[in-house]
């Protein structure tokens, strides 16, 4: 028995589509330790958002989740009744979403929406909940926090709303925060601020964070460990420094070639791109899902692809990896 805060083994998410089934997440394993920031990175449609919703038990009703194990702080989530799951949500595990503009209820004040998160899970007076909300709004960098409580979401900018969402996730002092592309919908200047804030809060409160992103620049700046997802599978995982220094999977290498590096990428130089398209996820996929786009593909890629352990905790699923 391990003492990981979150342990995911063989997680699948299937979405029935009339005659066929979309296998959006196809058997992923990863874990998150207390106080650790893990990035799930991959392009659109690779299943990273569905993975985050599956962890929270927030999948759309038609999606099917199954897993060999989904353990959070000693509790097995796959067999937990919905009522007990709701007791965990917003309490010991909280979530921050991609769309701050639409994620707050337009009909209620910020204060109302912040305090209800706390009063749902803790026995607190209205004044205590209010104090906690003011304190956290200040902590996430919102000025005049007390007067913001009476404001409605439409009176705030996107960046401010995302700060409110972060404060809301922190209300009960969760052990795990899942942030699904929290900066994607924001202006570039705000993105860096929010990211910095998340990292700071994570270290200050000793929380574990799962950060979902498609932006390797984000990963490099904040992550402790990275899991690279492709077509519903994790293809490479490891500590951020060693993975960036020595990417083993051709897909990871391709992704890294796509981002400009200040000082190394010369002006006017072409950035890399990965040719081809992601395979259809409706049928069964045999072998390596990336092989039709891979420059190093060989016959063995059509067969089963085992995990190979590398140095310093790195692991990769590639036939060609040394």
């Amino acid at each position: 028995m391990t003492d990981h805060l979150l342990e995911v083994r063989d997680l699948h998410v299937d979405i029935p589509l009339g005659h066929s089934t979309l296998h959006a997440v196809r058997g992923i394993d990863f874990h998150v330790d207390r106080g650790e920031l893990v990035c799930l990175v991959g392009e659109s449609g690779c299943g990273k958002s569905l993975t985050s919703l599956a962890l929270m038990g927030l999948l759309p009703s038609r999606a099917r989740r199954r897993a060999a194990a989904l353990r959070f702080a000693g509790a097995e989530l796959t067999t937990l009744p919905e009522r007990r799951m709701a007791d965990l949500r917003g309490n010991r595990m909280a979530m921050i979403f991609q769309e701050p503009m639409t994620s707050l209820n337009p009909a209620y004040t910020i204060g109302n929406q912040l305090t209800e998160a706390l009063s749902r899970h803790r026995k607190v007076t209205a004044a205590q909940a209010r104090d906690r909300a003011v304190h956290l709004l200040e902590r996430v960098g919102i000025t005049a926090a007390a007067s913001r409580l009476g404001q409605y979401p439409h009176q705030l900018s996107g960046g401010l709303r995302q700060r409110v969402m972060i404060a809301m996730a922190l209300m009960c002092g969760p052990e795990l925060i899942i942030a699904d592309e929290p900066t994607t919908a924001l202006d570039v200047t705000i993105q860096a601020q929010i990211l910095h804030l998340l990292r700071e809060l994570q270290q200050e409160f000793g929380m574990a964070v799962v950060l979902i992103t498609h932006d390797l620049g984000v990963v490099a700046r904040v992550a402790d460990r990275v899991a690279v997802m492709y077509a519903g599978e994790i293809v490479e995982t490891g500590p951020v420094a060693s993975l960036f220094a020595a990417p083993s999977h051709p897909y990871t290498r391709g992704l890294l070639a796509c981002i400009p590096v200040p000082g190394r990428t010369r002006p006017g130089e072409m950035l890399g791109s990965i040719p081809g398209i992601v395979p259809s996820l409706t049928g069964r996929l045999e072998g390596c899902a990336f092989r039709n786009r891979c420059g190093e593909a060989r016959d063995a890629c059509a067969g089963p692809v085992p995990w190979r352990q590398g140095l310093a905790g790195q692991a990769v699923r590639c036939v060609g990896a040394a």
Binding site: G90, F97, S103, A107, R120, H154
Partner: protein
């Protein structure tokens, strides 16, 4: 909020004025009023006498200004037929119609909103189908036919409720159901659509992510947003019910405003007709104004528009 209310009130007064003017002009365009009041056998001299007596010989502008001046003081003149003051006639008839319309709306809301919410939550279940059947039946049945059916079943055969009259509260039950059922389908379908829309929204996902209980999510977070279009619709439906209660009032022999309108039209009682149009228009305008204000109270985003 006060500025919003005042601006809406200004618009409401302008609409009431326009409706009165349109009604006045339409009445005068419908033919020579003096001729129709005097009756088919009147001589030319008698028609002229009527014209003078009722002030119909004056220029139209003067007539309208005179009517308007008195109307804003709630003086609508005397009925040609009943000889009573129009305001007294309306005051004696309006309560019946208001009670009927108000109760019918309450009935419609009490049935339609829970049914719409359940249909949305249990989408495609048997209860959703049943709600659809109720809606289709409600829209397909003419209200006079449904009213007569109710009378046959509950008054004639079961003898539970009176078939006509407003002497006791029991007399209101059947007309309220008949009139209210007419408004139920639209309100129910709109509640269902609104709830389905809202339940798929990001802020409901946020509410679930906070671990809130299903009841809190449905009634605090979802229904409050889904109900906004329903309020506007309910106001319009109540307006329709007040205006259209004529049929139900006739079926159940309730002497309300709708019945009075029918009597006035049949007897060329112009002052009564004109007053009823203004009163109904004003009620309609007040209802939509009330709905706007209620919506502004529910949805903070409306207040700034």
């Amino acid at each position: 909020m006060l500025r919003f209310a005042l601006r809406r009130l200004g618009v409401a007064i302008a609409v009431a004025f326009t409706v009165s003017l349109a009604c006045f002009l339409l009445l005068h365009l419908s033919g020579d009023l003096a001729t129709s009041i005097a009756g088919p056998e009147a001589t030319a001299a008698q028609i002229e006498a009527v014209r003078k007596q009722y002030g119909l010989d004056r220029p139209l502008v003067t007539q309208f200004a005179d009517w308007l001046w008195h109307a804003v003081q709630l003086d609508f003149g005397r009925s040609y037929y009943f000889q009573d003051r129009v305001i007294d006639l309306i005051a004696s008839r309006l309560p019946v119609t208001m009670i009927l319309g108000g109760l019918a709306l309450a009935f419609a809301l009490i049935v339609a909103i829970p049914l719409g919410v359940i249909a949305a939550i249990k989408r495609d279940s048997w209860i959703d189908r049943l709600a659809l059947v109720i809606a289709v039946l409600g829209q397909a049945m003419p209200s006079f036919w449904f009213g007569l059916t109710l009378i046959i079943v509950f008054s004639v055969q079961l003898r539970w409720l009176p078939a006509s009259g407003a002497d006791s509260w029991q007399g209101f039950i059947l007309p309220v159901v008949a009139l209210g059922y007419y408004a139920t389908p639209a309100i129910m379908r709109l509640t269902r659509t609104g709830m389905l829309d809202v339940l798929g929204s990001d802020y409901i996902r946020t509410a679930r992510a906070k671990g809130l209980r299903t009841g809190t999510i449905m009634f605090k977070h979802a229904l409050r947003n889904a109900i906004i279009p329903v309020i506007a619709l309910a106001a319009v439906q109540l307006g329709f019910m007040l205006g259209g209660s004529l049929v139900i009032e006739a079926v159940f022999s309730l002497h309300g405003l709708g019945y009075l309108a029918w009597e006035a039209i049949a007897r060329n009682d112009y002052p009564v007709m004109q007053a009823i149009v203004l009163i109904l228009a004003s009620i309609y305008i007040l209802l939509t104004l009330g709905a706007d204000l209620l919506n502004a109270a529910i949805d903070p985003r409306i207040r700034v528009r």
